[in-house]
C-alpha cells in the first residue's frame, strides 16, 4: 500500500526527546492534558520540540516537586512520550501546552543540551496479550464501573467515556482508565510503571473499584444526610403547600388563626377552671366544624360571650366614706336615708376588707320606691360613682319573658344571654352597680314569669351561682350591687319584695324643689345649653313661680324641662342679638317665654255644700281630690261613681251609714234619708281609685249634704273612717301634705295615729307653714271643716 504507509513511517518515534519534568501531574499515554510550563529549561524543551518539527517531548514525573532544578536522580525513569497538540505563550512568559500521551518510555540517558534536558528514550510498547477470561472480565467490569462512577456523580468528559468504551486493548484501556482515576501523582506513577498490561489492568480495576466504593459511600452519606434534612424540609414544604391551597380556597388558615385567637382569649379571660374546660370543649367542636356552618356561628358567638365576660375583673371600691358622701351630696339634695344606707354599706365593706379573710361581700339589694322624677335612677348612678363602680341600667318595664332575664337556650336561632349577663358584659367588671329600673312594671304572660327569674338573681344566697340558660355555666353575681326602682310596691310580687331593702323616696316640697332647682337643675341646664351662671340668673321668686305655675308633680322632671326651655330661649336670644348680657329671670320674663301659667294658683273655689277636699296618694306623688256628694229625690239609695275600688266603695257605705246613724246628733231629720238618693263622685272619673283614706272626706261630704252646711274649701283631709266614727291612720302622708301645700291649702286634717310619722318625716319648714290638725274622731273633723248651716233658699239661689 506503499505511498501512504511510507508517509506514516515519517511519524515513527524518534529516540531522543526534549524532557519536561512534571510536578504533581502525570500524563498517561493516550491522555490529552493541558500543562503549564514555567521553568526555563522546560520552556526551552517545548521550543526545541516545536522547532525540530517533531513536536514530541518526554514527560516524566519529578520525585521531589520542591526541587526547582532537578537532576537525573530526581526524575522517574519511566515517563511518557507525548506530542504537543497546541501551544500558547502566556503573558507572564509561561507557556501553556496541550499534550497527548503517545507511549511509555524509559529514560536511557539524560543530558543537558544548551539550556534544556535531552533524554534518550527506549520506547516501551505494550506487548500483545492473550484475551484470557480474566482480561475480558476485567474489561467488562471496568466499563461497568465506569457507568456506575458516572451515575454516582463522577465527572468525566463524555468524549472520553466513548473512547474508553470503544477501546479493547487491555494496556490502553488500563492507561485511559488510570487517567481518570482520582489518585495522587505518585500513585499514578506506580501504575505507569507497571509494564505488564494485564497486571496494570488488574491494578487499575482494583483501584477504580475502590474509588467507586468510596463514591458509593459518599453517596450514601449524602443521601442519608439529605434524607434527614429532606424529611423536615418535606414536611415544611407540604405544610406550606396545604396552607397555600387552603388560603387559595379561602378557608382553614383563617380558621386556625381564629382558634388560636380564642385559645389565647380563653387563657386571658381568667375564667374558672370548669368554665375554661367547657370553653375549650366548645372550641374543639368549632375546630372540627366547617367554619361557614350555622352551628359554627353559634359556637363562635357563645365563645365570644364566654371570653368577654369579666370573670375575674373588678373595680376597686372606693372605701373613703368622706369622699363617697361628698359625691352623693354633690349629685342629690337631701335623700338622707339613702345616702346613709350607702355609707353604711361602705363602712361594712371597709371593715370586712380590713378584718376578715373572706373578701366576698354580698352586695345589698336596694329598692327605691317613689314618684317619677325624684331622682331614683340618677341616684343609682351617683351611688356607683361614689363606690367607684361601673353602672349599668336594665330597664325591666314591659319585660314579660323569663328568657329576657335568664337568656335563651343555645338551641334557638339568635339565642342571647339574658339582660343580667348582658349588663355584666357591658359593665366589664363583676362588681358593678346594676340598676333594675321599673321592677314594678314587669309583665307576666304565658312565656313565664320574669319576676320568678329575678328571684334567683336578687337572692344574695343563690346568685353566687347564677346560671344563664345561654351560657350554661354559673356566673358569680354576689358582688354585684343591685338597685331596683319602682313607682309603687303593690305590683311587685311578695317574694321579690321580700328580697329587697325598700327605701322610699317621697316627692319634694316646694322649698326642696326651689333648692334643687338652684343647686342642681339650673347649673346642669346652663351647662347643657352652653351658658353659665354669669349670663342667666334665676330669682327665687321666678323659680317658685315656675314651680307653681308650670309644674304639678312630685319630682322635678318637668321643672327641669321648663328651666331648660327658658335657658334655650335665652340662648337663642343671645345668638340673635349678638349681645351677651346678663339675663335676670323674673316671673314676668317666664310668662313671656312660656306663656300664661298652666296651673292656676289662684283659689277660685268657694265653700260649697258637698264638695270636700280629700287627699290621695298616687304613684306620681300626692294629689288633692275634690270629692263631690249630692242628694237627689229618691228612696235612700247610694250611687257611687268615679272608678272606685271595693275598699273605697265600702268606705263610702260606711260614711253613709255613719251619717244616718248620727242623724240626731247632726240635726238631720231621719225622714230625709228615705226621700233622697245620695250620689258620691270622685273625679277624675277615668282614673281608678281605691283605698280607705278618703273615708273621712266622704263622711264629711255626706254630712254636709244632709245638714246643708258648706265644707271649707281651704281644708284638706285624709283618714280612714270606722262605723263608730273613729279616724284610723293611713299611708303616704308626706306626699299628701305636700300636695295640699301645692294646692295652697293650709289646713290639713290627719289621723292622730299618724302624728309621729308626719312629724319626723316632714321637713320642719313644711310643718311650720302648714296648719296640721290631728284628729281622733270624725266629730272633730265636722267641727273644723263644716261651716254654719246655710238656708235652703240661699243655697238654691247660689246653685242657680
Amino acid at each position: 500500500m506503499g505511498q501512504f504507509e511510507d508517509k506514516l513511517d515519517l511519524l515513527e518515534l524518534p529516540s531522543t526527546y526534549p524532557l519536561i519534568p512534571t510536578r504533581d501531574v502525570l500524563v498517561f499515554p493516550y491522555m490529552v492534558f493541558p500543562l503549564f510550563i514555567g521553568r526555563s529549561f522546560s520552556i526551552r524543551a517545548v521550543e526545541e520540540a516545536l522547532d525540530n518539527n517533531q513536536r514530541y517531548i518526554f514527560l516524566s514525573l519529578q520525585k521531589d516537586k520542591e526541587k526547582e532544578i532537578p537532576t537525573k536522580k530526581d526524575i522517574h525513569e519511566i515517563g511518557v512520550v507525548a506530542t504537543i497538540i497546541r501551544m500558547m505563550k502566556l503573558e507572564d512568559n509561561r507557556i501553556k501546552i496541550l499534550v497527548q500521551g503517545v507511549s511509555r518510555g524509559r529514560i536511557k540517558e539524560l543530558k543537558k543540551v544548551d539550556d534544556y534536558y535531552q533524554v534518550k528514550v527506549k520506547i516501551i510498547e505494550d506487548p500483545e496479550v492473550e484475551e484470557t477470561l480474566e482480561v475480558q472480565a476485567l474489561k467488562h467490569s471496568l466499563k461497568d464501573l465506569l457507568d456506575k462512577a458516572i451515575s454516582l456523580g463522577k465527572q468525566i468528559v463524555p468524549d472520553l467515556v466513548e473512547i474508553i468504551k470503544s477501546v479493547e486493548e487491555p494496556g490502553r484501556l488500563a492507561d485511559l482508565v488510570a487517567s481518570i482515576l482520582d489518585i495522587k501523582a505518585e500513585e499514578a506513577q506506580q501504575i505507569l510503571e507497571i509494564l505488564d498490561s494485564v497486571e496494570r489492568l488488574r491494578v487499575v480495576h482494583d483501584r477504580f473499584l475502590k474509588e467507586v466504593g468510596i463514591l458509593e459511600l459518599q453517596q450514601k452519606i449524602r443521601i442519608s444526610a439529605k434524607e434527614a434534612i429532606e424529611k423536615d424540609q418535606r414536611e415544611y414544604f407540604l405544610r406550606q403547600q396545604i396552607k397555600a391551597i387552603q388560603e387559595e380556597l379561602g378557608e382553614r388558615d383563617e380558621k386556625q388563626e381564629e382558634i388560636e385567637n380564642y385559645k389565647k382569649k380563653i387563657e386571658e379571660s381568667g375564667m374558672p377552671d370548669e368554665i375554661k374546660e367547657e370553653a375549650l370543649k366548645q372550641l374543639k367542636r368549632l375546630e372540627k366544624m366547617h367554619p361557614d356552618s350555622a352551628e359554627a356561628g353559634v359556637i363562635r358567638t357563645y365563645l365570644d360571650w364566654l371570653v368577654e365576660l369579666p370573670w375575674n375583673k373588678r373595680t376597686k371600691d372606693r372605701l373613703d366614706l368622706k369622699i363617697a358622701k361628698k359625691i352623693l351630696d354633690e349629685d342629690h339634695y337631701d335623700l338622707e336615708k339613702i345616702k346613709e344606707r350607702i355609707l353604711e354599706y361602705l363602712a361594712v365593706l371597709k371593715l370586712k376588707k380590713e378584718n376578715s379573710k373572706d373578701k366576698s361581700i354580698k352586695g345589698p339589694i336596694l329598692c327605691f320606691v317613689g314618684p317619677p322624677g325624684v331622682g331614683k335612677t340618677s341616684l343609682g348612678r351617683s351611688i356607683a360613682k361614689a363606690l367607684n363602680r361601673k353602672f349599668v341600667r336594665i330597664s325591666l318595664g314591659g319585660v314579660r319573658d323569663e328568657a329576657e332575664i335568664r337568656g335563651h337556650r343555645r338551641t334557638y336561632v339568635g339565642a342571647m344571654p339574658g339582660k343580667i349577663i348582658q349588663a355584666i358584659k357591658q359593665a366589664g367588671t363583676k362588681n358593678p352597680v346594676i340598676m333594675l329600673d321599673e321592677v314594678d312594671k314587669i309583665g307576666l304572660d304565658f312565656r313565664g314569669d320574669p319576676t320568678a327569674a329575678l328571684l334567683e338573681v336578687l337572692d344574695s344566697e343563690q346568685n353566687k351561682e347564677f346560671v344563664d340558660h345561654y351560657l350554661g355555666v354559673p356566673f358569680d353575681l354576689s358582688e354585684v350591687m343591685f338597685i331596683c326602682t319602682a313607682n309603687r310596691l303593690d305590683t311587685i310580687p311578695r317574694p321579690l319584695l321580700d328580697r329587697m331593702e325598700v327605701i322610699r323616696l317621697s316627692g319634694y316640697s316646694e322649698e326642696e324643689k326651689l333648692h334643687i332647682a338652684k343647686k342642681y337643675l339650673i347649673p346642669k341646664q346652663l351647662k347643657e345649653n352652653g351658658l353659665d351662671d354669669k349670663t342667666v340668673e334665676f330669682s327665687d321668686k321666678a323659680i317658685t313661680f315656675l314651680i307653681r305655675g308650670y309644674t304639678r308633680e312630685a319630682g322635678v322632671r318637668n321643672l327641669e324641662r321648663q328651666i331648660g326651655s327658658i335657658i334655650r330661649k335665652i340662648a337663642k336670644k343671645i345668638i340673635e342679638t349678638g349681645k351677651k348680657r346678663k339675663y335676670k329671670i323674673t316671673p314676668r320674663l317666664i310668662k313671656k317665654f312660656l306663656g300664661a301659667p298652666i296651673y292656676s294658683t289662684e283659689k277660685e273655689e268657694k265653700d260649697e255644700i258637698g264638695v270636700v277636699t280629700g287627699l290621695a296618694w298616687t304613684e306620681v306623688g300626692g294629689e288633692i281630690l275634690k270629692i263631690e256628694v249630692t242628694k237627689m229625690d229618691g228612696k235612700g239609695n247610694l250611687v257611687l261613681t268615679g272608678s272606685l275600688g271595693d275598699v273605697m266603695k265600702e268606705s263610702a257605705r260606711i260614711a253613709f251609714s255613719y251619717v244616718k246613724s248620727k242623724a240626731k246628733e247632726l240635726g238631720i231629720d231621719p225622714e230625709e234619708f228615705g226621700k233622697y238618693d245620695l250620689h258620691i263622685h270622685v273625679p277624675a272619673g277615668a282614673i281608678p281609685k281605691d283605698g280607705p283614706s278618703a273615708g273621712i272626706a266622704i263622711t264629711t261630704g255626706t254630712a254636709s249634704v244632709f245638714t246643708n252646711r258648706p265644707v271649707r274649701s281651704d281644708v284638706a283631709m285624709t283618714g280612714e273612717i270606722t262605723l263608730r266614727g273613729k279616724v284610723l291612720p293611713v299611708g303616704g302622708l308626706k306626699e299628701k301634705i305636700l300636695a295640699a301645700k301645692r294646692a295652697e291649702i293650709k289646713t290639713v286634717i290627719l289621723p292622730k295615729d299618724n302624728k309621729e310619722e308626719v312629724m319626723s318625716d316632714l321637713p320642719p319648714y313644711v310643718r311650720k307653714s302648714m296648719n296640721l290638725i290631728f284628729v281622733d274622731h270624725i266629730d272633730e273633723v265636722f267641727k273644723i271643716a263644716l261651716r254654719e248651716e246655710k238656708k235652703e233658699v240661699e243655697n238654691q239661689e247660689s246653685k242657680s
Binding site: F4, K7, L50, D51, M87, M88
Partner: protein
C-alpha cells in the same frame, strides 16, 4: 496511535452520483489517500506542513486525518474521481448501476 482528526464533510447527491467535499487544508496532495469499497469511502491524510522556528502560539493540527463515509446506496468506486484544490478535497462517486461486490479495496487517484 497518534492523535487524529475528523475533518468536516458535505455530501450531495443527484440521480447519478454522490459528491463529497472535505476540508483538508495543510496537506500535501501526495499525503492524501482515498480508498473504498461498494458502499464506503475512507479518506486518510497526513497533516505535516509545519515551519521550523520559535513558536509563540501553536494551534494547528499535525498528524493523521481520518474519515470514513458510508453511503446509503451502492457506489461504483472504480469510476470515482477526486480533486484537491484550495485545501478542499472534492470526490465524485457515481451510483452503482448494478449491484456488485468488490473484494478489493480500490483507490481513487486525486487530481
Amino acid at each position: 496511535m497518534l492523535s487524529f482528526e475528523k475533518p468536516p464533510i458535505d455530501i450531495l447527491e443527484d440521480d447519478e452520483k454522490y459528491i463529497a467535499i472535505i476540508d483538508l487544508p495543510g496537506c500535501k496532495r501526495e499525503d492524501i489517500e482515498i480508498t473504498g469499497d461498494e458502499k464506503t469511502l475512507k479518506i486518510r491524510a497526513l497533516k505535516s506542513i509545519n515551519l521550523p522556528g520559535k513558536y509563540i502560539l501553536m494551534e494547528r493540527f499535525t498528524g493523521i486525518v481520518k474519515r470514513s463515509i458510508r453511503f446509503p446506496k451502492y457506489i461504483d468506486i472504480s469510476k470515482g474521481k477526486a480533486v484537491y484544490e484550495n485545501g478542499c478535497l472534492v470526490i465524485y462517486i457515481p451510483k452503482a448501476k448494478n449491484q456488485f461486490i468488490i473484494d478489493a479495496i480500490c483507490k481513487i487517484s486525486i487530481f
